[in-house]
């Protein structure tokens, strides 16, 4: 057995498989619950559905009024992604390629920012936002998302920009290209993986965020999916098939994004990018 264990044999693979089953099990429970009729679910809470009740999804979407929530979440994610790209790409570029006094301090500061809890600034920010009529505004929340997600984006993209050889940039500048032209023609294509990683992670964080919309958006017309899902329990306390269907719908956009781009997610969140 020791031999098997050492050479990456059967024993190791069984443990890995058990880990996979463990990761999959709650998802199976949710998926099968979401596809059962109410009677079926009550009689048989853990087994496979007797017949597939896709109408749960239609009902969850309509009764739960998820359409507006999906629109709001989509707008928040799109706004945050766009805003983060517009502010973080130039900053990351400057911190990687333009030497200036205080640049390493700024890198340290942005790293520090990635560890600051929202609890540290949420109260004065809420009071200020309500004074400036930025609560219950998707635009206001997008501003917050840009501010709190851009430090991570700056550090991540900076690490990609730093890999671009200076000679390449200098050659372009000598050829008479402006800083901006050099950026678009040379830097951007090389840094594309970093940009894509930033896009998917910021989109995911915006879609998933709960505390900030819970605090800053309390009118139903502006609520995103996460906050609406948090309110479902009181509303449908017994209709677990509908709650599970809504939960799966709410996770679907990020799940699809992950299905296509899981490498970017894992590289961006668990790779060396996080550590700047």
């Amino acid at each position: 057995m020791t031999k098997n264990f050492r050479s990456g044999g059967l024993f190791s693979q069984i443990i890995l498989l058990l880990f996979a089953l463990y990761s999959f099990f709650p998802l199976y429970i949710a998926l099968s619950a979401s596809l059962k009729s109410r009677a079926d679910l009550f009689a048989n809470p853990l087994g496979l559905p007797k017949e597939l009740y896709f109408t749960n999804y239609v009902q969850a979407f309509e009764v739960g009024n998820l359409k507006q929530a999906f629109f709001n979440s989509g707008l928040l994610a799109a706004g945050a992604v766009l805003g983060v790209l517009l502010t973080a790409i130039p900053a990351a570029y400057a911190l990687a390629k333009i030497p200036f006094r205080g640049s390493s301090f700024l890198v340290g500061y942005y790293f520090f920012c990635t560890t600051i809890p929202a609890q540290l600034f949420i109260i004065p920010l809420y009071l200020a936002f309500s004074r400036f009529c930025l609560t219950n505004s998707l635009f206001g929340l997008i501003l917050i998302y840009i501010a709190i997600f851009s430090p991570f984006a700056i550090l991540l993209m900076r690490s990609y920009f730093m890999n671009i050889p200076n000679e390449l940039l200098e050659a372009a500048l000598i050829d008479g290209a402006s800083m901006l032209q050099a950026f678009w023609r040379i830097v951007f294509p090389v840094a594309r993986p970093g940009v894509i990683t930033t896009v998917v992670i910021v989109a995911m964080w915006s879609w998933n965020n709960f505390l900030l919309p819970l605090t800053f958006l309390n009118q139903e017309r502006v609520m995103p999916v996460t906050v609406r899902l948090g309110m479902l329990m009181g509303r449908w306390s017994a209709a677990w098939e509908l709650i599970m269907a809504s939960a799966i719908l709410g996770a679907l956009p990020v799940a699809l994004l992950f299905a296509f781009l899981h490498r970017r997610f894992i590289a961006g969140l668990a790779g060396t990018g996080l550590k700047g």
């Binding site: 020791t2 050492r6 990456g8 190791s12 693979q13 890995l16 880990f19 996979a20 463990y22 990761s23 709650p26 998802l27 429970i29 679910l41 809470p45 853990l46 502010t87 130039p90 900053a91 333009i98 920012c113 600051i116 809890p117 609890q119 540290l120 600034f121 949420i122 109260i123 004065p124 809420y126 009071l127 501003l143 917050i144 501010a147 851009s150 430090p151 700056i154 995911m204 879609w207 505390l211 819970l214 999916v225 899902l229 479902l232 329990m233 677990w240 599970m244 809504s246 939960a247 799966i248 996770a251 990020v254 992950f258 899981h262 997610f265 894992i266 969140l269 668990a270 790779g271 060396t272």
Partner: protein
């Protein structure tokens, strides 16, 4: 002349670093500093703030609710410093040996799901008359003795895959000949892990332990989407206490004092960790 050049450089830099920095200062830095100031004032958010010195800190620090929340946060930190880290290390080491990388996205998938979705799924699983709860015959989220652990269990499910990926990515930087030499010397699997993998990824491990301490004192979503601090305050953490104090009780000063404490606990935890790690290294 030199001053002018520097001025020009500053002007040239501004469009690059300015927008991100300005937004950060307005939304993160200034309000964070304001929280520290607000912690010394009494304010409902509507009337005029009144300076009260350290009264807010005295109030919250002598409150049994606060002390219980601190205890819960410490229990939470202890769980997350050990269980998911051990799972992540085991997963990463086995992935390294077997090269079965296809498992990685499976483990990572729960990490990217919205916490509220995972919360709903586990509430169904734990439900006393449904799901697994029906079979177990207990309400794991409903009784004070188990609720915090039940939430932590759900959180570990959606967290260990992240650590596994971090550690696995760190093992990819270990030179291959180290393992080859160990194999020639007839090292066991445990010895390979203990004497090669572990020391080689120690910086990453330390970094994740430190981040775990910081993150553990900020936990909010997991509690809010499952028990909101109940039953009977058994899952109240500092972040949920702060939220209720600010947005239910409208005591902005006391809530700010709790916010300052969350940051200080995070810092203290990191300091303690480094102190222990250094002492451990000396021994």
């Amino acid at each position: 002349m030199k001053g002018m050049k520097r001025k020009r450089k500053t002007i040239m830099l501004l469009p690059f670093i300015g927008p991100a920095l300005l937004l950060n200062i307005a939304i993160v830095l200034v309000p964070s500093v304001a929280t520290v100031v607000l912690a010394f004032f009494e304010w409902s958010g509507l009337d005029i703030p009144r300076f009260v010195g350290i009264k807010n800190f005295v109030t919250v620090l002598t409150e049994s609710l606060f002390l219980r929340a601190v205890a819960h946060n410490i229990v939470w930190t202890a769980i997350f410093l050990t269980v998911p880290i051990a799972m992540g290390l085991l997963g990463a080491e086995l992935l390294r040996r077997t090269k079965r990388e296809l498992f990685q996205p499976i483990y990572f998938f729960p990490v990217i799901l919205p916490v509220v979705v995972i919360g709903l799924i586990w509430r169904y699983i734990y439900h006393p008359t449904r799901g697994l709860g029906k079979i177990l015959g207990v309400s794991l989220l409903g009784q004070p003795s188990t609720a915090l652990f039940a939430i932590a269990f759900a959180n570990i499910w959606a967290w260990w895959g992240f650590l596994c990926a971090v550690f696995y990515s760190a093992t990819q930087g270990i030179p291959h000949d180290l393992y080859e030499a160990a194999t020639l010397d007839g090292a066991t699997g445990w010895q390979e892990f203990r004497y090669i993998t572990l020391p080689q990824i120690l910086p990453t491990l330390t970094f994740m332990e430190v981040m775990t301490i910081i993150w553990s004192f900020q936990v909010f979503d997991w509690i809010w989407v499952t028990t909101q601090g109940g039953p009977a305050g058994a899952t109240e953490l500092l972040a949920t206490l702060l939220y209720k104090r600010a947005f239910y009780a409208y005591k902005m000063g006391e809530a700010s004092a709790i916010g300052v404490c969350i940051s200080l606990f995070g810092l203290a935890g990191v300091g303690l960790y480094y102190y222990l790690a250094r002492r451990g290294a000396e021994i």
